[in-house]
């Protein structure tokens, strides 16, 4: 028997980014005991990287905005594969969730009349993103953190969960380890919220940090929950491309919101070509009109640079593929040009985009007030995730909830910028509320000791393999191989042959991951941690590839060059993967419930 420590909570929240923190705060407010597990230190999760803003139809800048427009924008952006109930709740509740942050100490930029300022963003009809310069995520996570630490939540920093326990068809707790000393821990809980973010680390070029290995997806899948929409990965159109060491780091859409334009090597604004039909009526047809829009002219339509991320990313890929890219395989994003329009242009850029200014200055020796940036697509966000009930955020496993990027549904086939920060507030709160309710109404269930032992053995297996030698290999090479495989074969542009190659490759990597070994001891040992992250990455990669193969059309974040058009035959269902008998993933089509009549009308009115 391996030694472990046991902790007991009513609600266990796994993940301490915006969604996890918001869930923990809400659960705690309901009077239950809450444990919050962070993979890193508190306040370092990926929410901190969010730049542009949080979408909420508060109508502070344009009084034509309201929840109906926000709902319609979100559904259009998601190509109508969204869980429409979530899109409805999100649009309705986001303003209150943002105001609540102000009551907890957040300091958003202001309008002239002293209210929260809102900015333009891709796919949003009106200026809708509450923001703090280009560091909105930092403001949000710090506000939630500083509020949360006074709510009696027990925080486990630098802990990783490797297994969820299900007993008698209900969630019963979790198993994990602490990084610092490698202690093994059992967390008994009546309900569990997974809020572990996405799986960007399955790709080579990504804006995600080491943490985003799809732990919540894999944990939930393993516990019997459904994963939905996994084929929809968002490739953010603008990541840094040079120098090589920073490739993939995010360049906020806020640059384009402030008037930045995309050009190819010939200086042409290529985004004006090939505007999708369903956005034509809303898009500027001249550079002049686009500029007026970003300057707040209510009669102007938005420039094509602010079309949805899936479209912009593919257009950039097209320019590069056809030989019109920038020297390092991207295109040019030019904000410096606005100096010709604004008297204090350079100062304006530094004020509105301070962290972009510093990021390029420090990492690439480039002054963005003088010269264009080089940018290209980077793996950014997982639209898919754990399939949940729209109101409660509970998965198909009783007592297991999911929120934020970890849950599927709100974004459909493509997420609008700014809808992630509002997602994690709205559904973090809901998940916390319902997880607390679930816990209060039930007694705890015992966890079978044999299962705990098995989880402990699995957690320590990489050391045994290291000691045994033989086929053992270090975990980093296996992770890199997976990242290359996914980048090349299930990336922005996909086809059947490539995806099949990826599926074969994943089987091989699963074999290798079974031999992933760790040396040294259990104290803060990243080799060991990486070995334990591999199964999660592989589970997610397989689900992504299976869904990508099945969806023989192009929609949102999923583009098939062998099926380049949207196919109405694929419009009525989501793809769902579940662990089948024998432990193999099983794929099925889940029909989307017909849109409620009143919401149908809302969509029609806002076409």
């Amino acid at each position: 028997m391996t030694e472990y420590q046991t902790h007991e909570h009513d609600v266990l929240v796994i993940g301490a980014g915006g969604a996890g923190l918001r869930a923990a705060i809400e659960a705690s407010a309901a009077g239950v005991s809450v444990g919050l597990i962070c993979k890193s230190l508190l306040g370092k999760a990926h929410t901190v990287m969010a730049e542009g803003g949080v979408a909420a139809a508060m109508a502070h800048v344009d009084d034509r905005d309201n929840w109906k427009v926000h709902f319609s924008d979100t559904m259009r952006g998601g190509q109508y594969l969204n869980n429409w109930r979530m899109a409805e709740l999100h649009a309705k509740e986001a303003p209150d969730r943002v105001r609540e942050l102000e009551a907890w100490g957040a300091v958003f930029d202001r309008t002239k009349d002293g209210r929260i300022l809102q900015r333009n963003f891709g796919g949003h009809r009106y200026p809708r993103l509450a923001h703090v310069g280009d560091r909105t995520g930092l403001e949000m996570i710090r506000t939630l953190q500083d509020h949360g630490i006074h709510q009696g939540i027990k925080v486990y920093m630098e802990h990783t969960v490797t297994k969820l326990f299900v007993e008698g068809g209900r969630i019963a707790g979790a198993f994990g380890y602490d990084r610092e000393r490698g202690y093994l821990r059992v967390f008994k809980a009546k309900s569990v919220v997974v809020a572990t973010g996405g799986v960007g680390r399955a790709y080579k070029i990504t804006s995600n940090s080491w943490e985003y290995t799809g732990d919540g997806y894999a944990l939930a899948y393993d516990a019997g929950a459904d994963l939905m929409d996994m084929e929809f990965i968002q490739f953010h159109p603008t990541g840094m491309v040079w120098p090589p060491s920073v490739r993939g780091i995010l360049v906020t859409e806020g640059v384009r919101g402030e008037g930045g334009v995309l050009r190819n090597k010939d200086g042409k604004r290529f985004m004006f070509d090939g505007i999708p039909e369903n956005y034509k009526a809303q898009t500027a047809d001249s550079e002049e009109e686009g500029w007026k829009y970003v300057q707040g002219d209510k009669n102007a339509r938005r420039p094509p640079e602010l079309l949805t991320r899936d479209h912009v990313a593919r257009k950039i890929m097209g320019e590069v593929r056809d030989g019109r890219g920038s020297p390092h395989g991207g295109v040019f994003l030019d904000i410096a040009w606005i100096k010709s329009r604004l008297p204090n242009g350079a100062e304006h850029i530094k004020k509105k985009l301070p962290s972009m200014y510093h990021q390029f200055k420090q990492l690439a020796d480039i002054d963005i007030t003088e010269v264009p940036m080089e940018v290209g697509p980077t793996t950014h966000y997982t639209m898919g995730g754990v399939r949940v009930d729209g109101d409660t955020q509970m998965s198909t496993v009783p007592g297991l909830f999911a929120a934020g990027e970890c849950a599927a549904g709100l974004h459909g086939a493509n997420r609008l910028g700014g809808n992630s920060l509002s997602d994690l507030l709205v559904f973090g709160k809901r998940a916390g509320e319902h997880a607390a309710k679930f816990a209060r109404e039930r007694e705890a269930v015992a966890i079978d000791a044999g299962r705990v032992d098995a989880a402990a053995r699995a957690a320590l297996a990489p050391f045994d393999r290291g000691a045994a030698g033989g086929d053992a290999e270090g975990p980093y090479k296996i992770q890199y191989a997976l990242q290359d495989l996914m980048q090349e074969n299930v990336g922005i542009v996909r086809n059947e042959a490539d995806i099949k190659k990826a599926l074969d490759g994943i089987q091989g990597l699963k074999q290798r991951a079974g031999h992933a070994a760790a040396g040294g001891n259990r104290d803060y040992n990243p080799g060991w941690h990486t070995a334990l992250d591999l199964p999660s990455l592989l589970t997610c990669a397989e689900a992504i590839a299976m869904c990508a193969l099945e969806r023989k059309e192009s929609r949102g974040g999923h583009f098939r060059e062998d099926h380049p058009d949207k196919d109405p035959a694929y419009a009525g269902f989501n793809l769902v993967v579940r662990k089948g008998l024998g432990g193999r993933p099983e794929l099925r089509r889940e029909t989307i419930a017909p849109l409620r009549e009143d919401l149908k009308q809302v969509v029609e009115e806002n076409k």
Partner: protein, 248 residues
Amino acid sequence: MSSTSATFRIWRGEKGKGEFRDYKTPVSEGMVVLDAVHQIQADQANDLAVRWNCKAGKCGSCSAEVNGMPKLMCMTRLSDLPLDQPVTVQPMHTFPSIRDLVTDVSWNFRVKQEIKPFKPRQPDAPDGTWRMQQEDIERVQEFRKCIECFLCQDVCHVLRDHHKHDEFIGPRFLVHVAALEMHPLDTEDRIPELKKAHGVGYCNITKCCTKVCPEGITITDNAIIPLKERVVDRYYDPIKRLLGIGRK
């Protein structure tokens, strides 16, 4: 860059006991210290412990001392370092060592917990919202840029050399208190704690913290000195003293 590889002299050890070890690794254009550490971790030392997250200077996880200077490893470019000699990389000195480059920074999280939280005034509008002018929040927004990398705590001699962790909250949390005290909506009073438990008097304005702040926050001038002035106003104002008011 002149050479194609460089030597990194990295501190390896646990709980304060250990040694510097040299690792030679290839370098290429644009690389930062964290890239080199990762390369070494992947190729030569799988168990080399290092904290990092965003790799873009936004999360404040990868704090360390590079050639003796407190830095974020992700924002320290190799092209700014002399690569003809080994680059030394060691953990922050002010916090207990856990392993290799990772230190125990939990003290910081405990300190923050002790600071009285934000307490807003009654809302200004019937819908429960407030009105604030942009120019009234700019100072607070400067403080709220803090990414909690704790490099200011690392360099502060009150903590680093004199180990006053029990009597002094350090520059990071003086900035935090300043952000709360200068928040236009806040109604809490933290001046008594500043004087006593938070130990603002220990700071003797050497401005080392300001120099190492990767966010460029003017810690000493904009946060600490105004807090010192508030304490002085409250407790040492000669006129109030004569009149016998305001003394606690």
